[in-house]
């Protein structure tokens, strides 16, 4: 009966496009680096102002073993700080997002606290916790939790009352409503905030390491900069950037699972609905 309709093969989305999409960030990155290299050479930018990518790369190669151990330390503190930020961000975000009183009470305080550069607080942390992993993880945490709070709260505050009513009509407890409607509905907000949070966690770790640490990329960078080894400073920056992208890639795969329902318009647009 269903005779001439397109087969599986025909409706499959074009492979070429997907390949292009996946390669695109790499292409952009490479083009950027090439432009940077050429610009530096043409305008003869001194090495201590802005080293060329090739110098940075040489530095990366030369110091790869040292960089690896420092990167491991930074990754470690970042992940600890990030993990706590996710937990605290969810908890505070839920509090702020579900209670109007807490919203009004906590928001100004949170804004005030987060307007303050954390660099100023690191020394206090060091006096209490010594230098090293703990202040770095705390700094990462302090920077990263706020975007999560804000977005989780915004997600919860904008849940459609109709969806909540479905659960309320079953006599569900506040907790159940949160678990079954509030949080799932807020996932797009939550995952958006993770993108900001992970970058801030890295920045926090690295900054703290430049202020108080014996290890980590921040330590390496300050060390290099105090010896005027600017290519190594930038090599450190590259490594931090790579760490950020790696962690992002990790949760980007999870994201689609939790927010696919919300981004269905985009998916449909890409796959084409029904047709050739």
């Amino acid at each position: 009966m269903i005779d001439d309709l397109p087969t599986e093969e025909e409706t499959r989305s074009r492979f070429g496009r997907a390949a292009l999409e996946n390669a695109s960030p790499v292409i952009i990155a490479i083009v950027t680096l090439i432009v940077w290299e050429i610009a530096c050479r043409v305008f003869d930018v001194p090495r201590f102002v802005l080293p060329t990518p090739s110098m940075i790369f040489a530095s990366l190669v030369k110091w790869h073993a040292v960089i690896a151990t420092h990167a491991a330390q930074t990754l470690y503190t970042t992940l600890i700080g990030f993990a706590f930020a996710v937990v605290a961000g969810l908890v505070i975000g839920i509090a702020v997002g579900t209670s109007r009183l807490l919203y009004k009470a906590l928001y100004p305080i949170l804004i005030a606290f987060n307007s303050v550069p954390k660099v100023a607080i690191v020394p206090v942390l060091v006096i209490w916790f010594g230098i090293g992993t703990i202040p770095a993880a705390i700094t990462a945490f302090l920077l990263a939790f706020f975007p999560i709070v804000v977005n989780v709260a915004a997600g919860l505050a904008t849940v459609e009352p109709e969806l909540e009513d479905v659960l309320r009509s079953l006599g569900a407890s506040k907790r159940k409503i949160l678990m079954k409607v509030g949080l799932p509905r807020s996932m797009p907000y939550f995952f958006a905030s993770l993108k900001v949070a992970i970058t801030l966690a890295l920045v926090g770790s690295v900054i703290s390491e430049t202020i108080a640490s014996n290890a980590g990329i921040g330590y390496l960078m300050l060390n290099a900069s105090s010896r005027f080894d600017v290519p190594l400073v930038f090599a450190g920056l590259f490594v931090v950037a790579a760490l950020g992208v790696a962690i992002y890639a990790l949760f980007a795969t999870v994201e689609t699972r939790f927010t696919g329902w919300a981004t269905r318009a985009q998916t449909a647009r890409l796959e084409g609905t029904g047709g050739g």
Partner: protein, 326 residues
């Protein structure tokens, strides 16, 4: 086993000046004194003083000039020097040949890159008067330390106020020919405060005199060894911090010896032979620059009673020869 745990914070990132401590650690001089020492890098002398004062560290290695201000403002948290390693300060004015800054007079009408409230900046008016110059005769460009040197290389500043031992070698790193770099220190033009050394809280020293004595003695031993054979300390430094460049650090040590460690007075009298007259005269100048209203008494800032005997503080022959060869 039951060694006293002691932690020690430096003034800055690992560099040649810290070789003596690594020798003392590596050769067991600290251990011999019954000490189990851990050493952390520092983040500027001021920060080091604050950390020691806050009891985050037992010992610190820092510039002594800042003590004056700190102790005046925090009478309950007195910090004192117990050993002076840098007899004169390597702070000074660094520039490149084409800017023609080789004496204080040359600074007039020039743009200087500097860090806010750095000791150099604060003492400049006093230094200027000392040399008969107009304190207003220079223009500052305040930036963070790592930018200071770049500003000169970029041509935005004519000279920079800072540590010659740091900046000169930074410029070499940046590809400037060593002979193209010009510098003089403030000490060379009459401002001679004693510089970096070991600091502790006054009450800590009072309560743990043996610990302090042991620490100072071991440190002096390390310093003497380093002066006798810098190679050894530099090797240990490379082990401790693989990122350093041995050639640069060797050059740095050489410069540090020349400008601040192996001064004629040290060669003659020995390490940390502090003279009350010079101390208090320089301290007066510093106090004036910092706007502190005290008549500095050396006893309040420097306590020589923890030093080992004077023989143990003599400069080794090898170093004397090296200094003479200069």
């Amino acid at each position: 086993q039951d060694k006293t745990k002691v932690n020690f914070v430096l003034d800055w990132a690992w560099q040649a000046m810290h070789g003596p401590f690594l020798i003392a650690l590596d050769k067991g001089y600290y251990a011999d004194e019954g000490l189990d020492v851990t050493i952390d890098r520092g983040f500027g002398s001021g920060d080091t003083i604050a950390k020691v004062a806050a009891k985050a560290y037992d010992f610190g290695f820092a510039e002594g000039t800042s003590l004056l201000k700190f102790n005046t403002e925090n009478p309950d948290d007195q910090v004192i020097s117990v050993l002076i390693i840098n007899d004169e300060s390597p702070t000074g004015v660094i520039s490149v040949q084409k800017n023609g800054v080789t004496t204080p007079q040359d600074l007039m009408g020039k743009k200087i890159s500097a860090t806010q409230n750095a000791a150099t900046v604060l003492v400049w008016p006093v230094f200027a008067q000392l040399n008969g110059l107009d304190p207003e005769g220079i223009e500052y460009l305040f930036v963070e330390p790592s930018l200071r040197d770049a500003m000169v290389l970029q041509g935005q500043a004519d000279a920079t106020f800072g540590f010659a031992t740091t900046t000169v070698l930074n410029m070499v790193q940046a590809g400037v020919d060593r002979d193209d770099i010009t510098y003089f220190t403030l000490a060379q033009y009459g401002l001679k405060p004693y510089s970096s050394g070991i600091i502790v809280r006054a009450d800590y020293a009072k309560e743990n005199p043996e610990v302090v004595k042991g620490f100072v003695a071991a440190t002096v031993k390390g310093l003497v060894d380093m002066l006798a054979d810098p190679e050894e300390g530099l090797k240990l430094l490379k082990e401790r911090e693989p990122l350093i460049d041995e050639k640069v650090e060797a050059a740095r040590w050489e410069l540090a010896e020349e400008l601040s460690i192996l001064t004629p007075s040290v060669i003659d009298l020995g390490i940390s032979e502090v003279q009350k007259v010079r101390y208090e005269e320089a301290a007066m100048q510093v106090a004036e620059s910092f706007g502190i209203d005290v008549q500095p008494k050396m006893e309040n800032y420097y306590d020589p009673s923890f030093l080992p005997s004077r023989q143990d503080r003599q400069v080794p022959e090898a170093a004397k020869e090296r200094a003479a060869a200069k």
